[in-house]
């Protein structure tokens, strides 16, 4: 009587287990690496209807962030400017450039420019721009080197962990109020801590870690 199971089946259980281990660990590694805002959000750089460059307007021309985002100090959201703001200069500079056709149309007809929103916190997160910029958190902390970007790119994960990193140690991010909109301002770690701790103390910064601080 021949064997019911041929000889190679002796190794089958080990092989199945080894294969499952290899497959499982790669899948797990993949999920760890990819299923996080560090991958899904960082680097998001949609094509915008108008090729507006922050690098030209801020880094080269030297406009203040608040020339266009003029509501950021008093509003919870940082507004996209009206076309009329663009036309303050572009009624003369590049007045007939085809790249600005949409802006001129929007200015003349009132039809909004369909900008693509890049930074989108979930709707249950109540992030407030004004309270951050008025207490020394620079645009740079969340938006990275946006002043050097030709096309805006999602620079930081803006995940809950990202928010909490700063809410637990605000002194690592808080800068002198006059440098909040100066995105080229840098300091070394020791000086930052010294400054930050002073500001946190002087302004009584209460970076709440309560759930209800952001989730209301």
């Amino acid at each position: 009587m021949s064997d019911i199971f041929p000889k190679w089946t002796n190794k089958l259980p080990t092989r199945v287990i080894a294969g499952a281990l290899i497959a499982g660990s790669t899948v797990l590694a993949g999920i760890t690496y990819y299923a996080t805002p560090k991958y899904t959000r960082v680097g998001y750089q949609p094509v915008q209807p108008v090729a507006f460059s922050h690098a030209i307007h801020v880094d080269q021309v030297g406009l203040d962030c608040r020339y266009c985002h003029n509501g950021v100090e008093k509003s919870w959201y940082s507004n996209v400017p009206a076309a009329s703001t663009c036309m303050n200069c572009h009624n003369q500079i590049l007045a007939n450039d085809p790249k600005l056709a949409l802006v001129r149309e929007s200015h003349n007809t009132g039809k909004p420019i369909p900008w693509v929103q890049i930074h989108k916190t979930p709707d249950y997160v109540y992030f407030n721009h004004s309270v951050h910029v008025n207490r020394g958190v620079s645009c740079f902390s969340c938006h990275g080197e946006i002043n050097k970007m030709d096309e805006v790119r999602h620079a930081q994960p803006l995940s809950m962990g990202f928010c909490l990193d700063c809410h637990r140690n605000p002194e690592k991010q808080i800068r002198p109020p006059e440098q909040v909109f100066n995105l080229n301002w840098r300091t070394n770690e020791a000086a930052q801590l010294q400054l930050g701790e002073k500001f946190v103390h002087d302004w009584k910064v209460n970076s709440s870690q309560n759930c209800s601080a952001c989730h209301r």
Binding site: R15, A18, G19, I22, A23, T26, G30, Y33, Y34, P37, K38, Y39, T40, R41, V42, G43, Y44, Q45, P46, V47, V61, G62, L63, D64, R66, Y67, N70, Y77, N79, V80, A82, S84, T85, M87, N88, C89, N91, Q92, I93, L94, G110, P112, P114, Q117, P122, D123, Y124, R153
Partner: protein, 216 residues
């Protein structure tokens, strides 16, 4: 194992090739799974929404309406003035007439001057230059005519007329009513007057004990 391992490595390589690495440029919006809480049925500012005929979630004020809200801050003599009142603070004109008000009707102190300087540097400097002499950065970029604010024509303007020009624009300059609050416009005017004085002053205007310290 002989077949499984190469196939699995191939699958992994293809997956990494398709997904890329953290921080690589993504043109498509981030994937969101089970996002019914992330994107709720509520309207966000400046977002499009098809419910309204003009597709704007942010509604524009109905024509002819004015905000009542809070009284103006910082009005001289502590007057309580609301935004809808015919008062020099709101219009730049003497109440009940069409004459420009001669002097700034708001309180001028160190705080409002500092605010005026800050707002001037954000909103006016790009064209009129930090000194107000019309040598802003836009001149190099093709802005043909920029007024120097030290022009006798402008120095002689009443504060009320300056307020009107800032609010509504003049010639090629666009209106800045949307960028600058009423209080900020008056603060900018205070600072502008100081800038103009800096050019018009003579040695006799300097207190005697400081004259020797000046570089002539």
């Amino acid at each position: 194992m002989r077949y499984f391992l190469p196939i699995w490595i191939l699958i992994t390589a293809v997956a990494v090739g398709v997904l890329g690495f953290r921080g690589s440029i993504l043109r498509k919006p981030p994937l969101e799974f089970f996002n019914d809480m992330d994107r709720q049925m509520k309207l966000r500012p400046q977002a499009p929404h098809e419910f309204f005929r003009d597709n704007r979630a942010s509604r524009l004020a109905v024509a002819g309406t004015v905000a009542r809200s809070e009284p103006r801050h910082n009005v001289s003599a502590g007057a309580v003035v609301y935004s809808y009142e015919d008062h020099p603070v709101n219009t730049g004109r003497v109440t009940g007439t069409t004459n420009w008000v001669e002097l700034n009707p708001t309180v001028i102190d160190a705080q409002s001057m500092a605010r005026g300087r800050q707002r001037f540097e954000i909103n006016c400097t790009p064209c009129h230059g930090p000194l107000g002499d019309g040598n802003g950065v836009t001149k190099k970029l093709g802005m043909a005519v920029v007024a120097t604010l030290h022009d006798p024509r402008i120095v002689k303007m009443t504060d009320g007329e300056l307020f009107h020009v800032i609010s509504n624009g003049r010639n090629l300059m666009g209106p800045y009513a949307a960028q600058l609050d009423v209080e900020d416009r008056w603060a900018v005017i205070s600072y502008l007057r100081a800038l103009q004085l800096s050019r018009l002053g003579s040695l006799e205007d300097v207190p005697a004990q400081f004259r020797a310290t000046l570089n002539k």
